[in-house]
Amino acid sequence: MTVVDAGAPEVVLALDGVSRVYGTEVQVRALDGVSLDIRAGEYLSIVGPSGSGKSTMLGLLGVLDLPTEGAIRVRGTDVTRLADAERSRLRGEAIGFVFQQFHLIPHLTALGNVETALLYRGLSSRERRERAMAALEQVGLGARHDHRPVQMSGGEQQRVAIARAISTDPGVVLADEPTGALDSRNAENVMQIFEDLRSPERAICVVTHDLHVADSAHRKISMLDGRIVADEALRGGGKAAAGASGGLGDES
């Protein structure tokens, strides 16, 4: 279903007619035949009330879960057909995560946390260290690389998490309520970092119910009852619109 368009940027992540049903006796259809393309360079937000299916969609976009029906394509590869090892490798290479609760490993330093994302990739310990340091510098925490999460503020922890997400140079960064646990000043700071992280090769996808955060994106996907009900281009314009037509066209 991928729209072949020589002018449009590459589709880095796509849901293709994806449904997710939970439970066996009492079935809950958390996601119902959703299709969505995320293209390189996009900055999109996914909004919707609780129970609208946005968390389920995030889990599937992040290949942390598998759909009951449909396909998840990472750079064109349908990951539902892959074995766990291969799927995990692809997830690690293509996707970076930022969580609401930061989810740093408490016994590791900031540097150690970032390095964790770079393990088992055939890097020498020195390369790993250098790349992790570079990522920390990028979020302005180079000087605090040897601090543990408990020694940092919430905003700093989230910046470490962002450094961890970008250290592998993924095609898409998935952020789950990245400002949900932060005060407004830190939230502003984190959103600015997201804005800065955008590059023609990398897409940013933020799941949130904070409309202010959602509106800072260039494309806004609205969810309700497991379906995409709106796919709007915001001030970003053209690029997002191309993805939107693909996503919506399939669903309706």
Binding site: Q100, L108, V207
Partner: protein, 395 residues
């Protein structure tokens, strides 16, 4: 290789972050391995000690005990003529007869009865060649001699432990009181390894025994026979030589055979201690499985993050298996060292030569590694099965 190093790094990182917990789960393999190594080491060392002792004693001493042949109602003895026949056997180099006297209260000096009666002191009538036959030196003084025997003088030689007990000083002129009769102590006999009861005994001549203790005849009830060649054969023919085809008047044994048997008997003790140590290891393994299972639940968020960062189920399983492995390796090594230390301490204290096989140490450390890895299988598979979505709480 790089991946292996990374896994070891992650595993040790996880372990050092929880030092007390790690120390506690390591305690299982440490105690198990230490117990086994110590038990086996102490056993081997004492066996080695026994063997050295056997070497020292010589394996050519035969002990002949009179047995009730024809004479009923009285203590069996070996007649003088039979003793002479034994000493004429071609392979025999020395023979000494002894006879233990009964009902003699021994005290170091008059009036000490109340205190010393608690210690039963064997009084032995002995031939004059006892030290030579047993190959035991005198600590001080001399043994009973021909003059003592012929004159019937009241002289005695005492064992080394008795000398200590009674507070005798070397060369000090002292007496000992046997049923109220004063005997002069002329010498102290060194420890008799084959007959530890002699260490606290009093030796007198057969003449004194007959004169003072109404012994009917100066015949021994036991012979010590030294036969450097054909020892076993000599031991076999002595009963016949003593009783000349009549009903057996004596039985002969080689006591070092008993010691040899003793070192064999230890084998069952050895197996028991191995089993106990093995049990400790298994319990340690259960402890590892237990604590690690709880740890997996507590670290579910960490596992979820690692999965999100691209670590596969297999990698997570191996990471936790490596933590178990590290516990097993260090537990095994520390346990082996502790066990070796215990063996060294015991050997030092008891005067053994320490016998410890390095292969054995390594072997038991490896067993601990095996136990730890097996124990880690369940928690690691549990960690691998965790669904990242359930632990990360999205949205």
């Amino acid at each position: 290789m790089r991946r292996f190093r990374e896994l070891v790094g992650v595993a040790t990182g996880g372990l050092t972050a929880r030092k007390i917990r790690t120390a506690l789960i390591m305690l299982g393999p440490i105690l198990g391995v230490a117990a086994i190594v110590a038990a086996i080491g102490i056993n081997e060392s004492s066996k080695g000690h026994l063997k050295a002792k056997l070497q020292e004693l010589g394996t050519d001493l035969i002990v002949v005990n009179a047995s009730a042949g024809m004479g009923f109602g009285q203590d069996p003895v070996i007649e003088a003529a039979a003793v002479a026949r034994v000493s004429r056997l071609p392979d025999v180099t020395a023979v000494t007869g002894t006879r233990q006297l009964s009902d003699i209260v021994t005290v170091p000096f008059a009036g000490a009865e109340d205190y010393y009666r608690a210690f039963p002191v064997p009084v032995i009538a002995s031939g004059l060649d006892l030290p030579a036959t047993l190959e035991v030196p005198m600590v001080s003084g001399r043994f009973l001699n021909d003059y003592d025997h012929d004159s019937g003088a009241r002289v005695a030689v005492i064992g080394r432990d008795l000398a200590d007990e009674y507070g005798y000083l070397a060369g000090e002129p002292r007496t000992i009181e046997l049923n109220g009769l004063q005997y002069g102590v002329v010498g102290v006999l060194d420890w008799v390894l084959l007959e530890p009861s002699m260490d606290s005994a009093v030796f007198v001549t057969f003449t004194s025994a007959v004169d003072d203790w109404e012994l009917d005849d100066p015949d021994p009830s036991r012979l010590y026979v030294r036969a450097p060649t054909n020892t076993a054969m000599v031991a076999q023919e002595i009963p016949t030589v003593v009783s000349l085809g009549g009903p057996d008047g004596a039985n002969a044994s080689v006591p070092t055979d008993l010691l040899d048997a003793q070192s064999q008997v230890d084998e069952s003790l050895n197996n028991l201690t191995k089993m106990m140590g093995g049990l400790a290891l298994v319990v340690g393994g259960v402890g590892i499985a237990n604590v690690m299972s709880i740890s997996v639940i507590q670290r579910s968020s960490e596992i979820g993050i690692r999965r999100a960062l691209g670590h596969s189920r297999g990698t997570i399983a191996v990471q936790f298996l490596f933590e178990a492995l590290v516990v097993g390796v260090f537990g095994g090594i520390i346990g082996a060292l502790v066990g070796a230390g215990v063996v060294w301490g015991v050997a030092e204290q008891r005067g053994y030569t320490m016998v410890l096989s390095v292969a054995g140490l390594a072997g038991w450390a490896l067993v601990s590694v095996g136990v730890a890895v097996v124990a880690g299988l369940y928690p690691s598979s549990k960690a691998a099965r965790l669904e990242p979505l359930e632990t990360l709480r999205l949205g």
